[in-house]
Assembly symmetry: C2
Homo-oligomer: 662 residues x 2
């Protein structure tokens, strides 16, 4: 049964959403109008949060998976008293507004995650922190994650990956509303989407419910949420049949999906709804604020009884790192034995995971290859499985790279955690949709990407990355790190963990590499540094990762012929670009030609070197030394390229690659 | 019941696979040994193909989705009499062998598709060609597609996307064996994969069966395939419980997954199987050859009754294009009205889809935005739905970009078709796993990628590509085309369709662009060309797509200040790189600085220009003209950058960007 006040609130959301989209002359009115009842029930009866402090840790999380319907979210934030004014709404989809075309968490308070994929990571984070910190009488972490998802969301592969794992992990505090409106952009879902969604989620181990009349049956929606909350050991999906763009003359069709409604249509909608366009949403701000102040009192009492845990919660949610954690990063000298950088990454994890309890992570079913499991790691699993607990920090993501990256975003959005995830460098391509959102959202997550070149050998070209690092380097706001030895691997983790506002991708070898004379953790943070300086040099050789030791040998060969080569190790383009011009010129001085060497695509390398040696084709299956030989990654061949480069630039006035016209 | 000969054949596969992996000292013995019974049943009783002509059109297709188990496939090819010798097997995973670490269709006869994702596209192709060409009495196209897939395959999102659509499309000739061995790399599937797979496939509309003892129950496997073949209106999945690495001392554990078995283990396996390592696989080559010769006779008779259709089949399977089809490509002059290049792409499809019946395609639920539907298009749907037929050529892929790209690969592998698929440029990132396989496999597929820059406007940075073209350009063996106007759009389609051996990505605007003075279809094929030549030029301006008309205006501004600018339009890096040095020098002569302009990442552009203007951050929501203004894509700002570039290089001896030391 719908009372009058509920109906008024719902119609407010509907008409305001239509107005917002109309004003922008761009956007999606249909979903906000159709989802208004479920959103109203959720926010008026269930969601506990504090508009005056949108970052309160134990707030319930709300994720609008079908981000194109964000007019709904902006209208809700406005009505609920968040920092979202009527003029913000009027600036919908305009430059520099806080109401962009799709929701962006770094721009707008109250938006938990940017757009798209399902937010399972948030529920994982809650389960972990609840298990780690809650004590008898202290339910510090108890929030739910609510998601509205549309037909389109559920067609995407990432949703399947995340839903399968959420079911496996028995994440009882995840509740998904499936807005079953039978319409996608192309028209009726009968064109391409006729599966039985609830049966599919049952197969994943979810609790499922169906509300037939999602346009009117508020009591039904309410009861379904109550039921879902009572099911503690399964995530829930509630399929809610709605009418997209309800009230419009075109309701229930794809016409209301992605274009503003016509003014006369909006007028008749308002008339139909007997509508007064004032503010009527009636969740008093104070109820939510009381919830937070009760929680703050709880945390205070908890702190008396559990001072260490309390300090840790506060530290972690303030994004502070423990003092002196960096002392635990391993350091090496050239006399240490050669070892693969993936193994050096394991060494780092073994040292720092105990010092940084906020680190949580695993691998997309490549644990033994990525070497992501540290010695003391516990399994993150539902207690009832008997194979782990939610307080464990080792995540078995399964063969689900895209889902893994999405979950890492969700855990970061929740707060108090630094998630990492491992796969082969080549397969981060499966996850780029979520990697991009991490970069756009300024989320600190760490991708541990092993088997990072043709040097992986026998698995062959289906597994050998060529273009992958170029893809990541072309993406804004991500650190891409390809360390050359032990000190640089430690430096890469230091950079990744210190950089609060961006994701990091650490590219690691399968094959062994020696520890270099002159490398250090501190120099790694400069992005590039001179490993070996020579007076009156004829050429600068620059390389990353496993190719640095090859150019060291190249320089020795050249020396025998009287050719002087400087050597630069270049673990990160992005970190180097942030150094002063003076420093950058000291690494790449005017007048000396630069030759770069990397066993990956040369694409993009001209930014730092006049000539580039690398891969321009796919690789081949074979033992790695043979493969390196085949494609010319040998000191002999690179010495030849160096001589050609010197010859070519003879007589030229060469400006440093770091000098640019603008 | 297993007879002795069957058992011998199965054990041959098992021991030979173990030997092959052992010899390479690298690879995956477990799956080949576990899947030997199902593979034996399939190849001895069901699959009709011709080892002497692996490309016979109506052969049954076999796809090993879990490509790491390819030792199985190589052993089968050897035993079946394909061009695969014992010494090929011994060269497993070695450089330049035809037995690479994962199966590659372009290297090895008898391999239908390279590695990984499920092969639904093959079944779609069969349904379409059957519906298009079969006539009463002439079952020219009737083959089945058989797939073996493991736990890992079914965890990936792309498998969900493909399986959901295959169910929707009721593809009765697709039969998937699910090798249910309970083991993935990390260990038991209880770690991360506990869903009810058959229930999930039921929810997609599949026919499901379970064979409990896949190690021994050959009769059960056989009966299941018979049942599956009898279900004509649903794809089938047969879950077959197997023991990974059966026979090994470590059978049934992850230890046999990805490392060779120890020699003494192999010895005891052979002993257990009472084994004589000779060739015993008993499918006589002649049975299969007879099937093809019957089919050839059928095609001959068909040709008498249906000469046109017969000629078309022959033409299409020979990868020939109809004569004079290029006459249908639209041509424009500068007096034609400005229009978005996505609309110009629609114009091309309207013209050529009727002339090229092998074109088949659609959009990932963005038909009205990608404009991929031509006027005469029929819906590709199961007849029983009443909304289309399999002879239709318009595919509703749904919001499944990765699945779409995988299906396009499958259709190409089948033959006789040129598939295309549309989405926003930004969302091709979701599909890169399959795009990469298309490039590696040399498959001609066409990605129609609209909304190709910040110029899409209000949808904002979640939808505005920045790094995307750089990702594609860094990938080997793909044509990336960003046409600037009507003639270049026609040229882009010409290049895409003429290039049999690689995929093409066509990047198209949402916003209108004018038709340029001096553009042509023919020049587009050169990759880059001089749109406007000037004597004694001070600078060359180069741009792609929507930015070409901006540099045309920039040149006019500069001219007023006495600065002479040449203008180069640059639709494709790859096509340009293939031109003679002489031609390339005519486009970028020595001595003139080059400034590039593209409203996407500048990453990689130094290859063709001394200075680059583009995007280095994410974009913003807003009307497109405001967004272009905000980021400086205006003639005024670019003129300023041009002057800085000229100033910077004053007095330098500038060599052309196309001159390289090696």
């Amino acid at each position: 049964m719908t009372n009058q006040l509920d109906q008024l609130a719902i119609n407010t959301i509907r008409t305001l959403s239509a107005d917002v989209v109309r004003k922008a002359n761009s956007g999606h009115p249909g979903a906000p109008m159709g989802c208004a009842p479920m959103a109203h029930v959720l926010f008026s009866s269930f969601i506990v949060a504090n508009p005056s402090n949108p970052k309160w840790p134990n707030r319930d999380r709300f994720v609008l998976s079908n981000g194109h319907g964000c007019a709904l979210q902006y209208v809700l934030l406005h009505l609920l008293g968040y920092n979202m004014t009527m003029s913000d709404l009027k600036a919908f989809r305009q430059s520099d507004s806080k109401t962009p075309g799709h929701p962006e968490s770094h721009l707008t308070e109250g938006i938990e995650v940017t757009t798209g994929p399902l937010g399972q990571g948030l529920a994982m984070a809650e389960a972990h922190l609840e298990s780690r910190f809650n004590k008898p009488g202290y339910e510090l972490f108890s929030n739910c994650t609510y998601v509205i998802a549309g037909d389109g969301c559920l067609q995407e592969g990432i949703a399947s990956e995340a839903a399968s794992l959420a079911g496996h992990l028995r994440l009882g505090k995840l509740i998904v509303f499936y807005d079953d409106n039978h319409i996608s952009i192309d028209g009726d879902t009968e064109l391409s989407f006729t599966e039985d969604v609830l049966k599919r989620f049952e197969s994943y181990g979810w609790h499922t419910q169906f509300v037939k009349d999602g346009d009117n049956d508020l009591a039904g929606i309410t009861q379904a949420v109550v039921n879902a909350r009572n099911v503690k050991d399964k995530p829930s999906i509630i399929k809610i049949r709605t009418t997209i763009g309800i009230g419009s003359k075109d309701q229930g069709t794809e016409k209301v999906h992605g274009s503003p409604l016509k003014p006369d249509d909006i007028a008749q909608i308002k008339k139909t709804f007997g509508f007064d366009p004032e503010k009527h949403f009636y969740v008093p701000d104070s109820v939510s604020a009381r919830a937070e102040s009760r929680w703050n009192k709880l945390l205070e009492d908890y702190g008396i009884e559990y001072p260490e845990e309390s300090a840790e919660i506060k530290r972690r949610f303030a994004n502070k790192l423990p003092e002196d954690w960096t002392d635990h990063l391993p350091r090496y000298t050239p006399s240490d034995p050669s070892v693969a950088t993936r193994k050096l990454s394991e060494n780092v994890l073994n040292k720092i995971c105990d010092v940084l309890p906020e680190l949580i992570g695993g691998s997309a079913d490549l644990t033994g290859s990525n070497l992501t499991r540290w010695k003391s790691a516990g399994e993150f699993q539902a207690d009832s499985t008997g194979i782990g607990t939610y307080s464990g920090r080792y995540i078995r993501y399964g063969v689900r790279e895209h889902g893994m990256a999405g979950m890492m975003n969700g855990m970061t959005a929740y707060g108090g955690l630094i998630p990492f995830g491992g796969t082969f460098l080549n397969f981060i391509s499966y996850a780029l949709g979520s990697v991009r959102l991490a970069a756009l959202s300024s989320f600190r997550v760490i991708y541990v990407l092993t088997h990072d070149s043709i040097g992986l050998g026998e698995d062959g070209p289906t597994h050998q990355p060529i273009e992958t690092l170029a893809s990541l380097r072309a993406l804004p706001n991500i650190l891409v790190l390809r360390p050359a030895d032990g000190n640089e691997v430690s430096g890469a983790y230091l950079a990744a963990i210190q950089n609060l506002q961006r994701p990091s991708a650490i590219s690691l070898t399968r094959q062994n590499v020696p520890h270099l004379e002159g490398s250090s953790i501190e120099k790694t943070l400069l992005g590039a540094y001179v490993l070996k300086e020579v007076k009156d040099a004829n050429i600068t050789l620059v390389a990353t990762g496993s190719e640095v030791s090859i150019i060291v040998d190249t320089a020795k060969l050249l020396e025998k012929e009287g050719i002087k080569a400087r050597i630069v190790s270049f673990p990160s383009f992005e970190l180097f670009d942030e150094q002063s011009l003076e420093y950058r010129l000291s690494v790449f001085p005017d007048g000396i030609p630069v030759l770069s060497v990397e066993a990956l695509s040369t694409f993009g390398w001209l930014k730092y070197a006049h000539a580039n040696f690398g891969m321009t084709t796919f690789g081949t299956s074979g033992p790695y030394k043979e493969v390196y030989q085949k494609y010319g990654f040998t000191p002999e061949n690179i010495a030849d390229k160096a001589k050609k480069t010197i010859e070519f630039y003879k007589g030229h006035t060469l400006v440093s690659v770091v000098q640019k016209p603008f």
